[in-house]
């Protein structure tokens, strides 16, 4: 664990975005600071603040500099960052059904080979962990998850594999992810969830936020199909649990 500085670094990304940087590594303590500031600004956003983008280690604030003066934004950020070091919202835990079996867990045997675990142990290890949503990025609804057990920390592929289907559950480079949109990937596809973390036509289009926790619950292929049908009919299959921090 690296130390988390008290004062974030403020870095300009042009005249309409400010990066509030709490560290340079992937670290739950840094992420907590990022998300605490994100919560605080979200609860009472200054006029002219257009977007807040939490990442592993920083919060990027896109703003309209003709409405919100940089100095005013900086003052607000400094005050909030000093006074808010813990998240103010409840922690939400989601249970996502996940089918690791064929045809969904396409790359499980490759992961087994690279880790020395049996395919069943790969599944049990992945499904036994609790993950934290660090951030979204890369593609619509692509959720980067921390908390992958060390034994599953396989490096990403040197070159991408062919496109995976929507809502693939993937691991690579010491992280886990849910890859909502089909695309070629350097990650390993070990399963799929019938839950759609991203559905542009649905309201809300996204329901899992940065900072939320996720567990995967193994289901067989027949159950996956049944749950997919329910999800498609508008009945969410992800289950939500909430606890006060």
């Amino acid at each position: 664990m690296s130390a988390v500085p008290d004062e974030p670094r403020l870095l300009d990304a042009g005249e309409a975005a400010l990066v509030v940087e709490f560290g340079s590594t992937v670290d739950p303590a840094i992420s907590d600071r990022v998300l605490a500031l994100d919560d605080a600004l979200g609860a009472d956003p200054p006029e002219g603040l257009r977007e807040r983008v939490p990442t592993y280690r920083s919060l990027m604030l896109h703003y309209d500099p003709l409405v919100l003066d940089r100095a005013a934004l900086v003052e607000r950020v400094r005050a909030l960052a000093a006074g808010t070091t813990e998240r103010t919202t409840n922690t939400t835990l989601w249970t996502l059904p996940c089918c690791y079996a064929a045809p969904h867990g396409e790359d499980i045997s490759q992961v087994a080979e690279r880790t020395g675990l049996s395919p069943d142990a790969v599944v049990a290890t992945h499904a036994g962990a609790t993950y934290r949503v660090y951030m979204y990025g890369f593609a619509p609804g692509f959720a980067y998850l921390g908390g992958l057990p060390e034994v599953l920390a396989v490096p990403r592929r040197a070159s991408p594999r062919p496109p995976h289907p929507a809502n693939a559950v993937v691991i690579g480079g010491g992280l886990a992810a849910v890859a909502t949109v089909p695309m070629p990937t350097g990650w390993y596809v070990i399963g799929a969830t019938p839950a759609r973390l991203y559905a542009p036509e649905r309201d809300p289009s996204f329901f899992v936020g940065a900072g939320d926790l996720i567990r995967f619950e193994p289901v067989d292929a027949a159950t996956f199909d049944a749950l997919s049908a329910r999800e498609a009919a508008g009945e969410p299959v992800a289950r939500r649990w909430e606890s006060r921090t």
């Binding site: 870095l11 300009d12 990304a13 042009g14 005249e15 309409a16 975005a17 990066v19 940087e21 340079s24 590594t25 992937v26 257009r50 977007e51 807040r52 983008v53 939490p54 990442t55 592993y56 280690r57 920083s58 990027m60 896109h62 500099p65 003709l66 940089r70 951030m135 979204y136 990025g137 890369f138 593609a139 619509p140 609804g141 692509f142 980067y144 949109v181 991203y198 542009p200 036509e201 289009s205 996204f206 940065a210």
Partner: protein, 338 residues
């Protein structure tokens, strides 16, 4: 129903409004125009809100007609060749497209992007609050894709223009493409002072392989002082990342929301369009400005767009180069080869 019909379209012609804002935190790219000032100018001239849905025209070119009624149009495409039923028009023009007539916009001697705004509203359904097309994720516009021959764009509350075509007077779009202004950072501390100086001085050559996602620069590679991998953080439009090969990449409208290379500088908002309009082979350099200077520039841009766009009757000298080129074609090229 009144509609704009796409008779022919090259690659890269898309519908864009002001962009899909508010979802970057979920990995949704804003998209929106490559040249925001030019798109806003076209909308202003058409009497629309500045961020209304317009057609972004690439060098692939587009041919259009009207169906069901006349449609007033404002076309702003400096450097492109424009013709109505074969008769040349200025590259910035307000006109009324009547059914049965054909408007052709093709790449000319300059310019990478042009904008066609409709007096009325291009009626496509917004996705996540916006009609901006992001083809990589299949969002917005017409089924998330570029326009192609046979597409019909319904136009609500279509207004026809006032008679003969008029030239639009937009001197603020005559921008010098050779110097692009930047604010240093957010990761300029990944580079030594001499590398920052080398980055600013260039010169950099715009690579022809750019698109709506990124503008690639060729030149003498930069070196990193602290490695070329960072833990991913947010990416603004105009962010200039320097990957391992040392050649800068400017991230444009269709960029991903986050990225893992150090960003040496960020192109200021008012200069994004200037850069976007530079074609492959163009040479550029960068100039460092302060945030305050960039904001002042933005304010000046806003002031320009508050005024109506002046119109002048079309005169022959407005498209002299087209005429000359036409004469050249008629001249003795064949004789020369014989």
């Amino acid at each position: 129903m009144t509609a704009l019909v796409i008779e022919a379209a090259g690659p890269g012609i898309t519908l864009q409004d002001g962009g899909r804002h508010g979802y970057l935190r979920y990995g949704i790219t804003a998209a929106g125009p490559m040249d925001p000032l030019m798109q806003a100018t076209a909308n202003r001239a058409a009497g629309n809100p500045l961020d209304a849905t317009a057609i972004e025209i690439s060098t692939g070119g587009v041919t259009l007609s009207a169906e069901g009624g006349a449609i007033g149009l404002a076309l702003v495409a400096p450097g492109f060749r424009v013709a109505l039923d074969g008769a040349a028009l200025p590259d910035r023009v307000a006109l009324t497209l009547e059914p049965g007539r054909t408007l052709v916009v093709r790449a000319g001697e300059a310019g990478a992007w042009g904008y066609l705004a409709v007096s009325g509203r291009i009626a496509v359904a917004p996705v996540l609050g916006s009609t901006a097309t992001h083809t990589r994720s299949g969002l917005g516009g017409l089924d998330g894709r570029g326009l192609s021959a046979g597409d019909r764009l319904p136009v609500d509350e279509a207004r026809s223009g006032d008679g003969a075509p008029h030239r639009l007077v937009t001197p603020w779009l005559d921008r010098d493409p050779r110097v692009i202004r930047v604010v240093l950072g957010p990761q300029d501390d990944y580079f030594a002072a001499d590398q920052i100086a080398a980055f600013l001085a260039g010169p950099w050559t715009i690579s022809p392989r750019g698109d709506r996602m990124a503008c690639f620069l060729d030149g003498k590679p930069l070196t990193h002082a602290k490695g070329h991998d960072i833990v991913s953080d947010g990416v603004a439009m105009g962010a200039i990342q320097v990957p391992g090969n040392g050649l800068p990449i400017v991230l444009m409208a269709d960029r991903q929301s986050t990225g893992g290379y150090p960003k040496i500088a960020t192109v200021i908002g008012p200069d994004l369009g200037r850069l976007a309009q530079a074609r492959g082979g163009a040479r550029i350099a960068f100039r460092q400005v302060t945030v305050a200077e960039a904001v002042a520039e933005r304010r000046a841009e806003g002031d320009v767009l508050r005024k109506p766009v002046a119109r002048k009757p079309v005169v022959r000298t407005d498209f002299a180069s087209d005429f000359l080129l036409g004469l050249n074609l008629v001249g003795g090229v064949a004789d020369g080869r014989a």
